[in-house]
Amino acid sequence: MQTKVAFSAKRLLLTLLLCSCSVILLQSFDLSPRAGFLFHLICIAVGLAVSFLFFIPSVVIRVRTGFDFPTLVHRESPRLSPFIAVFYGAYFVYTAVFFLLPYTDMFCKKYFPETSPCFVAALLLISCVYAAAKGTNVITRFGIFLFVFALIANVLMMGGSVSSLSFGSGVVLNGTADELFRGALYFVTPAFIAVIFGFLSGFTKNFRLRQVVLTLILTGVKYAAIMFFVCFALGAYAYRQEYQTFVLSRVAHFGIYSGIESVYLALTTMSVFLIVSLFLCCVGKSVGQSGVLKHIICFAAVIFTLHTCAVYLRPVSELLTDTAVMVGFTFIAAVVVPCAYLIFGRVRLDKKAVGA
């Protein structure tokens, strides 16, 4: 089962970087088609600046106590632990389905239309249960491999689209205040990594604040690069299709060889696998001892049931893939609950006081 060996915080944040980048891989409808590239850049900057604020409570707890949030609650206020566990259990299940739904939808629409989305979700969840049972340390090691793969995939995707670049339009700064709000809201979605950090940072050592800043900056660079190619290599065509990054991988070509959709599929599969595995680790931790297989299997079954409901019931699907609901839920999980606990629980953020 899981090892209790502390690993480098850099490795955890590298894994979280890959998780946050997967948001743009599965992006489909949320951005305004008529907004220019500069407008998207502003949305990215605003969104990621807000995401940084979501990190503050977990970073304060980690730096001042050396613990992660659930461990702190468990040690200082054991009576509150069940309530915290129920809330975060619901959050992680919701967020796992939030990523699983577009992935299975993309998989079935773009690659294998005759496959059932539930079957794809079941296969992925089985792999995630295995990874979550192995623990955060092992998952973050896989993150290093995935980082290298993601780097190669992105170089291929963008390098292969260079010849399609056309700067005829898209540079102009057009967009309304409402579009700016919706764009920025979409780019706050990666703030969910702040909640994962709040739960798993207790396993890490040598943590520095600049690691968080660098993670968000690199996420911004990746988003900007993808938006650049979507705006200038795909143009108006991008908004006629779902999953624009998929279209980008289709357009990529080197001479007579075209389309690297299989590389894109591998990258999204591994990214979603990483996210769901980390959620299962967090969920295991929120209910008590981390890495207990029966807890992980239970939550995987709940995720699968919710996913199946969403596949067959459209209102459920709309609710589970709503960016505003996701960001609101993340705000409560990353900021409101930890801050409320620290303020109303009157917890002294001192390593000696909490016995670290």
Partner: protein
């Protein structure tokens, strides 16, 4: 426990992915690699060229008002296992491109099965006839289109760039590839105006 679960899941995956259910043999699938659009006796004629190993391509002609209608009709009445995922070239006759280019490229842009970088070219009637007679002609045209794109990047040779140029407003027009049998199937460029291609 984990080992047993892993072994069980591996067995299930293997069984699920063997492909015995709903399989389609490659020789029964109608993979289209080229479509030509020309004026026929009863209006516009869409000809689907099937992927094959023979010297002469197997072609199925469908009279229709648009590519969307032609695809639906072809699948319903002429080619039951129609697959357009490998479509590489759309040839529009000079007689009909004004009528069909915008609607066809717009339709293709909404379909995820089509590759956005498949080639589109204008051609004369003789070129379409030579494609009907010899499979090698399509390869020759594709090679020439690759060369044209390399030598002159401003020419729009695929759906993606043609769609984006048709969507742009207030511009003079754009260049597309044109093949003429009079020039021994050499590909040249032709300037067309977006405003001349009605919606």
């Amino acid at each position: 426990m984990i080992k047993k679960l892993s072994a069980l899941s591996l067995i299930l995956i293997t069984l699920a992915l063997v492909g015995c259910k709903d399989s389609r043999r490659i020789e029964n699938a109608a993979v289209i690699e080229n479509v030509s659009v020309d004026r026929g006796g009863e209006g516009i004629l869409y000809t689907f060229y099937l992927l094959g190993s023979g010297d002469k391509p197997r072609a199925v002609s469908v009279p229709a008002a648009s590519f969307e209608e032609a695809c639906a009709l072809a699948e319903e009445a002429y080619i039951p296992n129609l697959s357009l995922a490998k479509l590489e070239l759309l040839m529009l006759s000079e007689d009909v491109y004004r009528e069909v280019m915008r609607t066809d490229v717009e339709y293709i842009s909404t379909q995820s099965s089509f590759s956005p970088i498949a080639y589109v070219t204008l051609c004369d009637r003789e070129t379409i006839r030579s494609v009907e007679k010899d499979s090698e002609v399509q390869r020759l045209i594709e090679r020439q289109l690759v060369l044209l794109k390399k030598n002159n990047p401003s020419v729009c040779v695929d759906y993606l760039s043609i769609f984006n140029n048709l969507e742009r407003k207030g511009e003079e027009g754009f260049y597309v590839a044109q093949i003429s049998s009079k020039k021994e199937l050499k590909v040249s460029e032709m300037h067309i105006y977006s405003k001349n291609i009605p919606k």
